[in-house]
Amino acid sequence: MPNQNTDAEAALQKLGHRVRLGWAKKHSISDKSLESVKNTVREQWEQEQTASRASKPTPSPEKDRGPKPPEPEP
């Protein structure tokens, strides 16, 4: 059965398309919004770096010490 609301739906869809298009023309992304986004991305990236450094196993003190220095000659 054909949809009786097709014309009305098409007209409303056209209106929606036009309104969103007009809105996007009049309101491109603001500097404030762009800064918010970039600051959030930076903060998240820094958190990831910190978490990644913290999760790496720390070298054991034994290995760090390296070879024992030779005993002094008597």
Partner: protein
């Protein structure tokens, strides 16, 4: 918006900061106007800007966790974040809810759209008819028709917002459309 989901997928697997910033800018240049439209249609302007910034921060912070692979899934995901932040705001300030957009503002946006896509006389005729349909609707129905056809929410998204099931919303919008048509005829 065709390349939007590609940008989102690439962002998900990108490790370097400079590349992430570049991708985030490209993504948000596309979705910020939609989110701004959604928020500024719901809240009074002084608070709307603050809520929009909260939504953008939440969306940017969770972007790497988005697991979907389609544009509708991505839209649904970021509008869910937007609705949650909006509801947080309304829990604190109920009076900030905005009245429906007046017709002169709608027509102003329609005129602005002509810069991107020229309009025919038939388009104008259809748009006048669409405005009559909205004007003839009861407030509840106008809200449903506006959210579905103008904001662009699908039945599932409206169902989630209204705590209704999908079929219930589909039938409500169908009935609202019938009623509006009969009043305009």
């Amino acid at each position: 918006m065709d390349d939007l989901i590609k940008l989102v997928r690439t962002y998900r697997v990108t490790a370097g900061l400079a590349e992430r910033l570049r991708l985030a800018e490209a993504i948000f240049r596309q979705i910020e106007p939609d989110l701004r439209f959604f928020v500024f249609n719901a809240i009074q302007p002084p608070a709307a800007e603050d809520v929009l910034q909260e939504i953008l921060k939440s969306t940017a912070a969770s972007l790497k966790n988005f697991r979907g692979d389609t544009l509708p899934a991505f839209r649904s995901w970021f509008y869910t974040i937007a609705r949650n932040r909006l509801n947080d705001h309304f829990r604190k300030k109920t009076n900030d809810r905005l009245q429906p957009m007046p017709n002169d503002e709608i027509l102003d946006l329609v005129d602005a759209s002509e810069q991107a896509e020229p309009m025919t006389a038939a388009d104008r005729h259809d748009l006048e008819y669409a405005l009559k349909l909205l004007d003839g609707s009861k407030p509840e129905c106008r809200g449903y028709l506006w959210n579905h056809y103008v904001i662009g929410f699908d039945y599932g998204e409206i169902a989630e917002e209204q705590n209704l099931n999908y079929d219930n919303v589909r039938m409500k919008i169908g009935r609202c459309l019938e009623e509006a048509k009969s009043l305009v005829a």
